[in-house]
Symmetry: C4
Subunit: 204 residues, 4 copies
């Protein structure tokens, strides 16, 4: 079975997830910029944040499936698991943003990001296993420092937000730094895959 | 006529159905986990349930169309009928969940699931008929125990919820067990189709 | 330019239009079927009606583009015009249904259906013109009785609802009969196109 | 890497953006046209305006990618930037319309349109750079008067709305004229690209 329909369905779900938060922006009552600030609050910033996060996953999903040649039942479910985790991101991002980065929302955002990262790595493993020992994706990814580092950074962030300086802001600041660091690492999609596609060709 | 556009449209509709319930999750007023539990209630659980149900149908729809080589007017309408039934699942799942599995909602959920199962079997029959006596899909599906068992299990569930132990919980528990049993049977997409695709090749 | 992307975009828009009304169904407060009837009112019926109307257009759009070999700027805009008209159908159907088929909503629904029918015929003409005198679509459609009859039936319906028996129900009943007649005529997608595709082959 | 998946994802996002505002149309309480006017207010007009704007971008996006042969990480992000700008258009259009073209909303709409125009030009540049000095897109676009004129017109509009005749309507009228002028210039998708596609062939 070819990957095209799985990609099309994922694109549909991700297109909805990435635009969900724009539905929350309410048109201001008045006609000045002060009214605008009052009406949207932090809505715009949360929207941008969640847009970037989902965008990062879309870009990397797109890259990863360039090296997948077939789809199995396991890949379908691993992909649905990833989509489920990502679909909660607009919600957790909005809560974090609206509470000015309070402790519990920051922990929940970290758990959500961690779950998505694990689902992504899981999907990668299922694809590699479905393609046999000689998988092009496995060779392209190699030791996968990015994939191994991200969950550890998220975990550090979650634990900091929960345990460090519970009456102050330091734990939350460490956590935000960790989450941002992972985003920066992934914002450039995987060059290793780009190289592998040039070498082996794309399956489409 | 080829199946690609029918699949693309179905993917679009299913992508919307699978993510509809995330729109219902409201960001909590406060910033603690207690506020979160109060704000989302059972929303998250209903969302997960409905996500899994729609996911099962998407996976099996995807498998079934691997063996469809052409599209007729009848297939278009049978497919729209299935999509209509599935589009009501988020609604019936949410009602069931929010009423703590009360009798009427459990009956309605069963009717909805039964309607979707019948629409699925109907679509399968229409596809087989459109491809002639020698249809690969028919040979792949064979006697179709899963397709025949599911409606009977749903019916058992609906009748139990409606007639058994109307002042207690036993009828509802039997019904939930029936619905879950069908989901488990279908969560692994059809291996027979997977084998047939390897044998005959995919139409794309 | 090929038609695949125009079809994909139209599928996306139509998928959203066809499922919009399910977002309006609110989960009932209580847990009995009476609560359900109170909460959804006529929502479910409007949803079904609008689903069928949009489904008819999707099926016919799908058929028509089987015989389109290229896309021009004019086709893009004619297609967007059709999508715009169709996107208002959930709204006009709901108003008609919720007011128990009052005069003004029935007139508005007729105007909306008429606009969509004109946009469809317009799109058909633009496609034919873009393919030259020898267009396969033109030969397949021939004299196009269906396309010529529909606007006239809609117009009859609109005028009946507006002028006939303005204090009673007869005008509205005639209008509803006209609208239903057109739907029945179009519910079977164009067999002429099906035949032409077998004869000339599909462009994909 | 091929462009098909980037186009499919953009189509999904644009399909959502173009139909978002129809979700805002609320069914009137009463059953007369006066109730309709009261319930929808300027909703319908804003919807049409935003539909046309997004339609213009979809048409031109579609044309531009006809001459793109491969996708890079930079193209993915430039494209996401454009989608983000466009996703705010329904919001800014609605605010402008509902405040009867007050000064601040007109300025904000201009900023949004300017941002989208810059993102479009940026995407065009990134695509050209990814295809090397000999890019077909660059040859097709040539000196690109349209691309250079649009931001200047938007800027003129923004400055007029903000500084000219701040107690009267003249500044706002100039701004609206500027925005409309750009829309009219772009409503016909790029014929230069159409010619180039005939000459070089499309990558699909």
């Amino acid at each position: 079975m070819k990957t095209s329909r799985l990609e099309a369905f994922s694109d549909g779900v991700l297109a909805i997830i990435i635009t969900i938060m724009v539905l929350e922006l309410k048109v201001p009552e008045g006609n000045t910029f002060a009214d605008l600030r009052h009406a949207t609050g932090k809505g715009l910033l949360s929207y941008l944040l969640s847009f970037v996060y989902v965008g990062i996953y879309w870009n990397n999903h797109h890259h990863m499936f360039q090296l997948a040649r077939r789809v199995t039942g396991g890949i379908l479910w691993a992909n649905l698991g990833l989509l489920f985790c990502l679909s909660l991101l607009p919600f957790t991002t909005a809560w974090t943003d609206e509470t000015d980065y309070a402790r519990s929302p920051v922990v929940l955002l970290g758990v959500n990001l961690l779950a998505a990262a694990c689902a992504y790595v899981g999907l990668q493993q299922v694809i590699i296993r479905a393609h046999g020992a000689d998988s092009e994706l496995r060779r392209a990814i190699g030791w996968d420092a990015k994939g191994k580092l991200s969950p550890m950074l998220y975990l550090t962030g979650i634990l900091s937000a929960w345990f460090v300086d519970t009456h102050g802001r330091i734990g939350v600041i460490i956590a935000s730094a960790c989450y941002t660091a992972v985003a920066l690492v992934w914002i450039v999609p995987d060059r290793r895959i780009g190289r592998a596609v040039s070498e082996f060709g794309s399956p489409d």
